[in-house]
Each structure stands twice: as C-alpha cells, then as structure tokens.
C-alpha cells in the first residue's frame, strides 16, 4: 500500500520546551487514522507540523513521498492542493462570505471566473447538506454546526486525497456532533480520502478511526485498531480511554 504520509524522528520545540519527541508515523493511502490523547499532549502540534504551519526542530516529513523541506513554493502548493484541513473552530475567513470561503483556493491560486467558483462552491455545499441560500451569508451568520460543514466544504473543494480534522465535534451539540461524525464517515467512503483526525473524544475515535495513535506528553505511546488496543494494551491511559469508550 502506498504511504501518503511518513514522519521520521520528528521533534518540535517551543523555546526550550520539547512538545513533540521523536515521533515516527506512517499513514497509508485510504486509511482513517485518529490521533488521540489528552488536551495539551501535542496532537494538534503534530498535525500542524505535518502541514508545515509549525517548523520542526528536527526530523523529516514526507507527503506523497516528497520531503517537504526540500520542495520549492510551487511544488508545495501542488501538494497542498491535495490536502485539506478542517480546523477546530472552523477558521472561516471573517471578511469573506460562505462561497468565497469555500472557493478561496481557486479564487486565490487560479484565474477561474468568480461565477464558476461560486457554482463549484454551491455544488459542494449541497453535497454536504447545506442550502444554496447560505452561499452569500457571512460566517458570523452561521451556527457552529454549519460553520463546521462550510469548513469541510472548503477542505473538499479541491478534491483532496488527504483530509485533516482537528477536534471536529468539539463545541457542537450532541445531535449535530452525531451528524458530523456520519458526514466524516461518508466523506471517507465517497471521496476515497485518507483521513487524519485529531480528537480527545474516544467515542468519535472508535467510530471513525480504523487505526488509533495514542499520544501523551509529546510521544506516541501506542498504535492499533480500537479493538486491538482494547484487548491487548495495558497502558493506564489506554485502559482509562477504553473504559470511557465502552
């Protein structure tokens, strides 16, 4: 199976504090990996470092077999076109309306006509169960769940091969959270994406993750399917997670 993400000996430091230590991770095409761990353990830092938002202290990150450090700007752009990210608080651009947010990648990077981009944005919004009417609304007019869906639409518009979800159900009511979980599962199946989800929600992790990677204090403690971890692992943190997850 093709490895889409390879992380080797990755360490990240904030000042003198090491927040990620010697991380090694391989993710295969089509996998749905959940990075789970307590708050502040370094899950989001790991994802942001893979995406090039945070600079590593040492180590190597390869996406689609290419070492991200050695690439030129245009090559990085081509790789990022195949990668989407859904942020914890949606991170929609306040100054742009919904369709401009969704179509931002094409509006900025390509000479595509605005009407054409708007059509593309509306099409993807509809696929995610949102009304066409919201296309001209501003982000502050949307509910938390709608913002999350718009953020997913923004990540999906360029037909990415990899999608990162950072705490996708945090701060959302249980019903919306349930529908978002189903949506993430459907996207994985229908769009044939490789998903990397960061969460501390064990129930979400057990439902969407084919493989769970447990991080604590900046280190990977264990990795495996939910059932494997449930049966074999004796690590106290995993045991407590399994108890919560049921």
């Amino acid at each position: 199976m093709e490895k889409v993400i390879v992380v080797k000996n990755l360490s990240v430091r904030f000042g003198k504090k090491e927040v990620l230590s010697d991380i090694n991770l391989e993710i295969e095409k089509g996998e749905s990996v959940v990075i789970i761990g307590p708050s502040g353990c370094g899950k989001t830092v790991l994802v942001k470092t893979i995406l090039g938002i945070i600079k590593p202290y040492k180590g190597e990150i390869c996406i689609f077999g290419k070492d991200m450090k050695k690439l030129k700007d245009e090559e990085v752009r081509k790789i990022k076109e195949k990668v989407g990210m859904v942020f914890q608080n949606s991170a929609l651009f306040d100054s742009l309306n919904v369709w401009q947010n969704v179509g931002f990648y094409y509006l900025y990077h390509t000479g595509k006509d605005k009407e054409e981009v708007k059509k593309m944005a509306i099409e993807i919004l509809k696929k995610l169960g949102l009304d066409e009417e919201i296309a001209d609304m501003m982000p502050e007019q949307l509910s938390g769940g709608m913002k999350k869906r718009v953020s997913i639409a923004r990540a999906l518009i360029s037909n990415p091969e990899i999608i990162f979800y950072d705490e996708p159900t945090t701060g959302i009511d249980p019903i919306t959270s349930e529908s978002l979980t189903e949506l993430i599962k459907n996207i994985h199946t229908n769009f044939n994406t490789t998903d990397i989800t960061v969460t501390h929600d064990v129930k979400l992790a057990s439902r969407i993750g084919k493989r769970l990677v447990l991080i604590d204090e900046g280190r990977i403690i264990e990795s495996g399917t939910y059932e494997e971890l449930k049966e074999k692992s004796k690590h106290p943190l995993i045991r407590s997670y399994v108890e919560i997850g049921g």
Binding site: G52, G84, M85, L92, F93, L107, H109
Partner: protein, 257 residues
C-alpha cells in the same frame, strides 16, 4: 548592579531582535508586493487607510493651520512682521507637522485596526488556514497594505498641506487682517521642491513603519481577546516611537548634516 545591567542588556537585545524582525518583515512584504496574485484588495485597503482617514486628517490639518497662524501672528505682530506667518505655517506643515501629524493619525486609527484584524485571524487559526491552502500570509495580508499605504499617505500629505494653508489663510486674512495676496505669496515663498520631496519621503517611510509594525504585532498575537488588545496597543505605541525616531533621523540627515 549586576541585575540592573542584565535587565538593561535583556531589554536592549529584545529591542534589537524586534527591530530585526520588523526589518525582515518590511523587506519580505515589499519584495512580495511586486508579485501580488490579487490586486483588488489594494483598493479596499486604500479606502481603509486613505479615504476613511481623510475626514480626521482634514479637520486636524485645518485646525493646526489655524492655530499656527494664531500663535505666530500674535508673536510676530510685536515686530510688525505678521505677514510672514503664512510662510511659517507652510514651512512647518510641509517639513515637520504635516508628515508627522498624518502618520500619528493613521497609526492610531489604522495601525490598531490592522493589528486587531490580523491578530484575530492569528488567534482563530485563519492564518493557519491560509498556510494550509499554500497562501503566504505576508503576501496576502501585508503586501497589499504596503502598496495601499504608499498610495494613501502621500495623497493625505498633499491634501493635508493645502487644507492647513486654507485654515491658516482664513484666520490670517479674516482675523489678523493680512492681505490675501501677501498671505498666499508668503505661504509659498519659503518652500521649495526639496522641502516637498523630503516631506514626501518622510510619509513614505512612516507608511512603511505603520503597516509593518502593526502587521507584525497582529501576526505575533497570542492569548485570545486579551492578546488582540495587547497587539493593538503595542502596534500604536511602537509605531509612534518609530515614527518620531525616523523623523529625527531624516530631519537630521537632510537639514542638519
């Protein structure tokens, strides 16, 4: 004693590091301004920086021109030389007061808003979202504002000069009793193209300072709403400091050395 020296050394290092970072951002944003992908944002920022500052700049310039004539004519009247007050207004407005006043107004009004806007984007991960989409935050957020600043501040400077002369003329002619022809002749007699170009150079430098200092504070904001407030305050205070310092250096270089 050792602690005092350590403390001072630490602050000096912080200042050097800060100036270094601002200089790097200025160089980077200026370089990227030549390769902008989206130019329509420039017009939006010209409106924010220039057009929306115009009423405030206009009123302050008008009143400054009026006050300058009131003060100088009052003093010069003792020597029967009140007709020279127009010249004093124009020289001080074009060389010093005009550029510095405009820069301080824009720094206070626009600098705080730039730092707050970019700061909120930083804290709510919008800047991270830009990076994920392979958009350089400096090229997208800072470079168009640099160009807009370079269009807006020189325009404000020229308009402000004429408004201040108008204010001065109004007081000089209708209150002090200077003949209108004499007042206008004196107003333009003592200023040359060199004064105008140095004034223009000053506002260009001040504009680069305001945009980069404010953007830097926004891009480095942290810690929620409090962090955004802190970034806005530092943007205004730092811009004021660097504007006054730059004014001292430029005036020293062109009129003193």
């Amino acid at each position: 004693m050792k602690k005092i020296i350590e403390n001072l050394g630490g602050k000096l290092l912080f200042l050097i590091n800060y100036i270094g970072n601002i200089s790097y951002l200025s160089f980077s944003s200026f370089k990227k301004a030549f390769k902008l992908k989206k130019r329509e944002d420039i017009f939006k920022y010209v409106n924010e920086i220039g057009s929306e500052s115009m009423p405030l700049v206009g009123i302050i310039s008008l009143f400054t021109g009026m006050v300058l004539v009131m003060q100088t004519a009052h003093a010069l009247k003792k020597f029967g030389a009140e007709m020279y007050s127009g010249g004093i207004v124009s020289v001080s407005m074009i060389r010093e007061l005009g550029p510095v006043l405009i820069a301080l107004i824009v720094a206070g009004r626009v600098g705080a808003s730039i730092a707050a806007e970019i700061g909120v984007m930083k804290i709510t991960e919008q800047i991270d979202a830009l990076e994920v989409m392979a958009v350089d935050p400096v090229a997208y957020l800072v470079s168009p504002r640099i160009i807009a600043g370079l269009i807006s501040l020189p325009s404000l400077f020229i308009i402000s000069f004429f408004i201040s002369i108008f204010g001065a003329f109004f007081v000089g002619v209708f209150t002090v009793g200077i003949s209108s022809g004499v007042f206008l002749y004196q107003s333009f007699k003592y200023i040359g193209i060199k004064d105008f170009l140095i004034g223009l150079f000053k506002v260009i430098v001040f504009s680069i300072i305001i945009i980069n200092v404010s953007s830097y504070q926004g891009l480095n904001a942290y810690g929620g709403a409090e962090g955004v407030g802190r970034a806005s305050t530092y943007a205004v205070v730092s811009s004021f400091f660097f504007i006054i310092l730059a004014n001292l250096i430029i005036t020293g270089l062109f009129y003193f050395v």
